[in-house]
Point group: C2
Chain length 198, copies 2
């Protein structure tokens, strides 16, 4: 079935262009005719490759979610590691997943709310689960007294996620700082703060 392969290839072209469009204009404001025009075809022709507009969004959101999941599971699997090291690795992993596809990451973050049920519910459950696993790492760090106990844990974890999730909106992959440095510095800033600690 070599059809399947080449079909997938063209389908992925459509999905990637859609990601760019969704990132730029937002899912709701992006029309299928816009997307078709970007690809140089007619709107109806898109349906040779995809089932619906929302199928594109689903595929973008859930593929990213799976990659985040995988990255965090790998960090969690390593035993005998301090909480701050675990947190650092989690942050770096998250950044690396995003850096592999900044466009899809932006869609994942900003457009997931346009998923219909039951997909939206599933998505949000996965997301809460992911956040809670980071929260556990922070709580572990508080217990081992690596981290302050003065800071609200929900605040801490949401601040962390806010910082991570907005990265695709401003990060320029052609800039001086590369993704692995970015992850490292971001982790340092969140764990150690801006202030000199001497």
């Amino acid at each position: 079935m070599s059809e399947a392969i080449s079909n997938l290839s063209r389908k992925e072209q459509v999905i990637r262009k859609a990601a760019e469009l969704f990132k730029e204009k937002g899912y709701a404001a992006a029309s299928m005719r816009d997307l078709a025009h970007l690809l140089g075809i007619e709107a109806a022709s898109l349906y040779s490759h995809i089932k619906s507009k929302e199928e594109i969004l689903r595929s973008l959101c859930f593929d990213m979610a799976a990659e985040f999941q995988k990255s965090l599971a790998e960090v969690e699997s390593k035993k005998d590691i301090s909480a701050s090291e675990k947190l650092r690795n989690g942050i770096i992993g998250h950044i690396q997943v995003m850096a592999k596809d900044l466009t899809a990451s932006a869609v994942f973050m900003n457009e997931h709310r346009h998923l219909s049920q039951p997909y939206l519910r599933d998505f949000l459950l996965m997301r809460i689960n992911y956040i809670n696993r980071f929260k556990s790492i922070i709580e572990q760090g508080v217990q081992t007294k690596e981290f302050k106990d003065s800071i609200d844990k929900k605040l801490a974890v949401m601040t962390l996620f806010s910082s991570l999730n907005w990265m695709p909106m401003w990060y320029d992959p052609g800039s001086a700082i590369d993704p692995s440095q970015l992850g490292f510095q971001l982790a340092d800033m969140l764990v150690n703060g801006l202030k000199k600690n001497d």
Copy 2:
């Protein structure tokens, strides 16, 4: 002209409801018929109070922008204050402005891109200006050696803004932590980090 006052009053009711709707569904996905239904009137009746859908968005975005502007100007006006104290005050001020209207803040952050030209251009220029003024505070802190010079300044300021700007998405005003504590802790976390510094 008592008409102006009562008209403004009803107009503001419309705008506030619109803010809720825009926050929940996004500007593009929110229809004037949705908004009218929430207010218990017909869609066409909205136009007794507002000129267009986008006028609502403009008013939400630029009113918030003015408040942020005012808050930062006040912080900047205080002389003989360390960079970290200035940054802390800037963060607390920003959070307080947001906390006064979480719904409008969410729209300000997420929906401004649906402004048409030339409003979008104006908005983005104001925003860059605001960000750069925070960046100046950070640079000042690096010069006085309060802050590390190892961290990329763009990264630092964008991380800061990401944290601030996502707050309206998760903060529950009925929760244990109140807005002024939130601002204080957020500032502490970003300046000093999660780690204990002893």
